[in-house]
Amino acid sequence: MAARQTTPQPASLREVCAALWRDHLNPSRGGTGRETPLGHAVHLLLFLSAALSALVTVGIVFVLIFETIEFFGVIGLGTFFGDTVWSPLIAVFNETTGELESRFGIWALVWGTVLVAAIAVVVAVPVGLLAAIFLSEYAPPRLHAVLKPVLEVLAGVPTVVYGYFALLFVTPIVQDLLPATTIFNALSAGIVMGVMIIPMISSLSEDAFSAVPQSLREGAYAMGATRMETALRVILPAALSGVIASIILATSRAIGETMIVTVAAGQNPNFLASPLEAIQTMTAFIVQVSLGDTPAGSIEARTLFAVAMTLFVMTLAMNLIATYVRGRFREQYE
């Protein structure tokens, strides 16, 4: 593990290649150092397949940046981030200029995305955390062995199935309880998305709980704490970094989710819409444009990439924060 701490900075491509070749000729895991031509070829192939994963990231970033720059060459950052009406495909009335024009205010889509993700998190965090505490602190091993995979099935259900479930099962129930609800609404999409991310939170948090050493539990019990007090005041704080990381990862998953919101949340980009109304998320907009026949290279088609770039930046930032939180605030036990 000590080797991970020191990270020499990459210099020129030439030095990089030289370093890789040195590594290749000088096996790290106790090898004899001799290698057949086949061995060299295999090494190269394996290296290339590992490098491919780096190329995928480069490809994603390149594709997004290239089209996004083209987009901002026409629309301008001020319009994109300074407006709250999103209507790139159909011209709408603009109050400030008094003209009919396409509007590119990303905040309408961001609002829809954040609203649904927030509902999902509100549903999933209490349920997921309590489930994780039950699984790691209370459940006997045999029950644990049954319940954990069953909960994880929830994460494996295809999202289009959740979309069906949200539209045709949850929405009618929500409409019964809150008659103001429209057929497409953020609330039922959010609830179902919450169900989808429950296993992410419960699994990852439970891993964090199980990593807390047994001696802490025993110490708490010896002090006369009840099981609940042990769980909430000793185990939860000790595992907090893992728990927070799991919540951030689950939020990031909810933001990037596509099919539930496309099917059940509607296609009305609407800034500050209530949860009972139809909204549109960034992902649902991408699907809407993809299903239509916008010609490649048009400004409408480029909005796709600008929106995807916003989405990518948001999820990437959250994933990086989760990694950072997990590494930085980890309690070390030996």
Binding site: R4, T7, P8, P10, D23, G31, T32, R34, E35, T36, G39, V42, H43, L46, F47, S49, A50, A51, L52, S53, V56, V63, L64, P126, V127, G128, L130, A131, I133, V150, L151, L154, G156, V157, P158, T159, V160, V161, Y162, Y164, F165, L167, L168, T226, M228, E229, L232, S252, G256, T258, M259, T262, V263, V287, S290, A308, L311, T315, M318, T323
Partner: protein, 397 residues
């Protein structure tokens, strides 16, 4: 004093009020925990029941017991009797062996005459395998048998017309043939591309790479790739495969996009499988003078192979349910032909389901439910296969 009062008095005598409050809070807390687990499981149950109620009528129909079906039934009965008989004989110490096992032969001749030839072969293999696997494996052969039996029963009850019809504007005639074959076609190519690349990358990271900045960067990169929304992969596929490589909206473009999507999952699970092989296996091989590739090929991979295969199946079961990337690269939704070459256009199950769900007519939504049941059945089968494979290939060090 009556019973409850007495109990209360006793309770108070034993428990200090503050202690009792803590005890009650604790009990309420456990109740909440149990409730949330129950809620999660109940949601899953609600989903399955809702979909089944809506879709079962369209997907399943009472099987007409044709001659072949009846023969299959007889064969099944014969096989079960034979299997049980041979098991009993084996327990008594009379061992029956050989590739041409009487039970398998019986199945083959009985069912082989009927039109259910693939199933006859499957049965023959299953019975032979079940009887020849050493008893040390315990329940495994029986699980395999039960799964085959289940598959066969489900197949018998599936509505053949629904499975073999193309999409239609008339709800009663709409079928799922094209998306079913399209999914199969795409998955085969995805697996063929993603498995070698994913396992190769894992081998490189675990067995070859030093802990230098490059390996570290790739490792972080893979973790982040797994968190990229699937729809963004769709845009990558659209620009790279559909437009730049001019593959158009073909099976190949879809499969390559899916391969990129599942590669991080395959890499991570393969790495875990490789890491589980103890270093002594490698050191032993090195001590015999093996080169690095010989060590990997002969001493590491054979023990990690089951794990990598399990991870791949799980990754593919994720890919089967993915809709968004294929929607973006334009998997068409109304297709009345089968893809015959990798450059043909295609549609897949989740996209067909999405198409049906988003129509206003209720009839189409019921068909969507039928499609969903089929999709869930496929997923169930793949996941069971992965679990069985994991049990079967687990090596205890």
């Amino acid at each position: 004093m009556s019973g409850p009062e007495l109990a209360l008095a006793r309770d108070e005598a034993v428990w200090h009020p503050r202690l009792r409050a803590r005890k009650i809070t604790g009990a309420v807390f456990v109740g909440l925990c149990v409730c949330s687990v129950v809620l999660g499981v109940a949601m899953l149950a609600a989903l399955v029941i809702d979909v089944s109620l809506d879709g079962a009528a369209r997907l399943f129909s009472a099987p007409e017991f044709s001659l072949s079906a009846r023969y299959s039934g007889y064969a099944l009965a014969v096989i079960i009797v034979l299997v049980v008989l041979f098991r009993v004989l084996e327990r008594r110490g009379i061992r029956i062996d050989g590739a041409l096992h009487p039970a398998g032969l019986g199945a083959l001749t009985t069912v082989g005459l009927s039109r259910h030839l693939p199933f006859a072969l499957a049965w023959w293999m299953a019975t032979t395998i079940a009887l020849r696997i050493p008893r040390a494996l315990g329940r495994l052969p029986w699980i395999v048998l039960a799964m085959l039996l289940l598959t066969w029963a489900v197949y018998l009850f599936l509505d053949q017309a629904f499975l073999t019809s193309f999409a239609s504007r008339i709800p009663g005639r709409a079928g799922i043939y094209a998306p079913l074959i399209g999914t199969l076609y795409m998955m085969v190519i995805t697996a063929a591309v993603a498995f070698p690349l994913g396992v190769g990358a894992a081998i490189y990271l675990e067995e070859y790479a030093r802990q230098n900045w490059f390996a570290k960067m790739i490792q972080i990169n893979i973790a982040n790739l797994a968190g990229v929304p699937s729809i963004v992969y769709g845009l990558l596929g659209l620009q790279l495969f559909v437009r730049a490589m001019e593959l158009d909206r073909s099976v190949l473009a879809g499969a390559l996009t899916m391969a990129l999507l599942v590669m991080p999952i395959i890499i991570v699970s393969s790495q875990e499988a490789l890491r589980a092989v103890p270093p002594s296996m490698r050191e032993g091989a090195y001590a015999l003078g093996a080169t690095r590739w010989q060590v990997v090929w002969s001493s590491v991979l054979p023990f990690a192979f089951g794990g990598t295969l399990t991870g791949t199946i799980l990754a593919l079961s994720r890919a089967i349910g993915e809709t968004a990337p294929i929607l973006v690269i334009g998997g068409l939704t109304f297709i009345a032909f089968l893809p015959t070459s990798p450059t043909d256009s295609f549609t897949i199950l989740p996209i067909q389901i999405f198409n049906w769900v988003s129509r206003p007519q209720e009839d189409f939504q019921l068909i969507a439910a039928a499609g969903i049941i089929l999709l869930l059945l496929v997923l169930l089968l793949m996941n069971s296969a992965a679990i069985i494979l994991r049990q079967r290939t687990r090596v205890r060090w």
